[in-house]
């Protein structure tokens, strides 16, 4: 057991990345995630790593592409508008099956939006992070401790499945401080990377990493094979937490900061005798459809609590196959649902008793 220290969520991401063997950080500053870059700028030179502030987000993500081709662990981070700029790069990373970690500490949008917390990049992260058929593993931390733990996991999953993985956080979790224990066991897990471009020493054929495939029959096959890999990820890597679900009649689905607020509201609602629980997706992709589907057999209704105009709610409806009503409880634009706000929604939904 190492000592617990107080850290900002952003700092926890940076420290966990370093402990997990990341020695290349390529980024560009943007609120509310700049502490990641600042931390990396301070630490990387001292441990023989590379901190590089690129001239733009687009440049940074393409540098990630370059480092990833060599098989080295690398990371970039940004916030919503900056992630949009990186989307072309994300598609290329996925097309070339390159392990890499991308952090999005979300802020209100669309456009330049504001700098306060948001979860409105859910669609972008889980459905459309760029052109073409591809997926990213998307992890959603809800505490500073998870900012560290899931960053470490993101590197492992990226290497294990040869694909980009994203930490989808938000301004609150990035800026808040909580005690965090950085496990002494956090380290770089070794994965063989025979595909990496590290020089042949004239002993093997060249490794070529390229996403331009002009023969449609070959490109189709590559897509089909990549989706077989995604099937494995969907089977093996789903992570979620259940909270007070045993006797629940209302099931809240929420991730990140919204799940934290929901937990407080659930505790208060229980005091009023309302049986409500929470399913918190930790992986947003692969999405924990099974537990939500199973919950639909028991509960009267669902509430999707999110900091967006209703994005997560679609995945909840798909998972529970529209058997029970799903209500939306949300604030957007940098406003955050408060415990009272969620509690009011719980009471309102409870009064409806599962009727549409």
């Amino acid at each position: 057991m190492s000592e617990k220290v107080l850290m900002k969520g952003n700092e926890a991401i940076a420290e966990a990345a370093i402990r997990s063997g990341c020695r290349y950080y390529l980024g560009y500053p943007i609120t509310p995630q700049t502490e990641i870059a600042a931390y990396m700028a301070k630490r990387m030179p001292k441990i023989g790593g590379t901190f590089l502030q690129a001239e733009s987000e687009i440049s940074a993500i393409n540098m990630v592409y370059g480092v990833a081709c060599s098989g080295k662990r690398c990371m970039t981070s940004s916030s919503s508008p900056g992630i949009s700029l990186k989307c072309e790069g994300l598609s290329y990373l996925a097309a070339c099956d390159l392990p890499s970690v991308i952090v999005n500490v979300q802020r209100g949008g669309p456009g330049l939006g504001g700098i306060q917390p948001s979860q409105s990049d859910y669609f972008q992260a889980t459905k459309g992070s760029g052109h073409g058929d591809f997926r990213m593993i998307v992890l959603a931390p809800s505490s500073v401790q998870e900012m560290a733990d899931l960053t470490s996991l993101a590197f492992d999953l990226a290497d294990k499945h040869r694909m980009p993985s994203m930490i989808l956080a938000d301004g609150t979790i990035g800026q808040m401080m909580e005690p965090v224990e950085l496990s002494d066991t956090m380290h770089e897990t070794h994965y063989e990377k025979p595909w990496a471009c590290t020089g042949t020493n004239l002993k093997r054929e060249h490794n070529i990493i390229n996403s331009l495939i002009l023969k449609p029959e070959i490109l189709e096959q590559l897509n089909i094979e990549r989706y077989k890999k995604y099937e494995v990820v969907e089977k093996e890597e789903v992570r979620y937490e259940e909270f007070m679900m045993d006797d629940a009649e209302i099931c809240i689905v929420a991730f990140g900061i919204a799940s934290r607020v929901s937990k407080s509201a659930i505790v208060e609602a229980r005091k009023q005798g309302i049986k409500v629980g929470l399913i918190r997706p930790i992986t947003l992709w692969p999405f924990p459809s099974e537990p939500i589907k199973a919950a639909a057999d028991k509960v009267k209704s669902f509430i999707s609590v999110e900091l967006s105009m209703g994005q997560l709610i679609y995945d909840v409806q798909l998972a529970e196959e529209c058997r029970k009503p799903v209500y939306l409880c949300s604030r957007v634009g940098g406003m955050i649902v408060s415990p009272d706000y969620v509690l009011n929604k719980i009471v309102e939904v409870n009064n409806l008793g599962g009727e549409n």
Binding site: L6, Q175, M176, M177, R260, A265, S338
Partner: protein
């Protein structure tokens, strides 16, 4: 089992975030669950600034606070904004050397502390935040005075170590201040 929710508000430069950090470290050292959530963004330095601190015996759900048990208002706009939010029976600390009005609520405990003035009398007028925190420690059972030094050592960066003593001195002055 107890949970104390605290909002500290004032303008940038009054040590709002620092005070919150100190509280959070005290809670951590005392073996409690803590969260510290700052306001962030373009309002830094000169503009309004606040932070939410929760110290609890149990894991903390929402770090966002609707009805704080303790509000520290370091300037007038903060008092106007947060006075109505204090939980019934909660505690409201008012920086009375900077705020020219009295509290309107009669269902909360109000403490008027001329913090900047006391800090000035004790050698550093920038440390009004420590005066108020001293008073908070005296009036609530959430922080222990004997662990504050350890927390202070964590929060004050190495290059400002020489400021430890004056912070502790002024903290004590706040602790001993009698509002009557």
């Amino acid at each position: 089992m107890s949970t104390t929710k605290i909002v500290i508000a004032g303008f940038g430069g009054q040590g709002i975030l620092f005070t919150g950090k100190l509280m959070a470290y005290q809670g951590l050292i005392d073996g409690k669950f803590v969260s510290w959530l700052p306001s962030y963004g373009p309002e830094m330095r000169g503009g309004t600034c606040n932070c939410s601190v929760i110290v609890s015996d149990e894991p903390i759900g929402s770090p966002i606070i609707d009805n704080p048990d303790i509000v520290i208002a370091m300037n007038r706009p903060s008092l106007d904004k947060y006075e109505p939010t204090v939980a019934k029976g909660g505690k409201l600390f008012i920086e009375s050397s900077l705020i020219d009005r009295k509290a309107e609520r009669d269902d909360v405990n109000v403490f008027y502390v001329p913090a900047a003035q006391i800090a000035d009398e004790n050698g550093d007028n920038r440390l009004g935040n420590m005066v108020i925190h001293g008073k908070v420690m005296k009036e609530s059972d959430c922080f222990r005075f004997d662990t504050v030094m350890k927390a202070m050592e964590k929060v004050i960066s190495a290059r400002h170590r020489d400021l430890l003593d004056i912070n502790m001195k002024i903290l004590k002055a706040g602790y001993d201040y009698d509002c009557k």
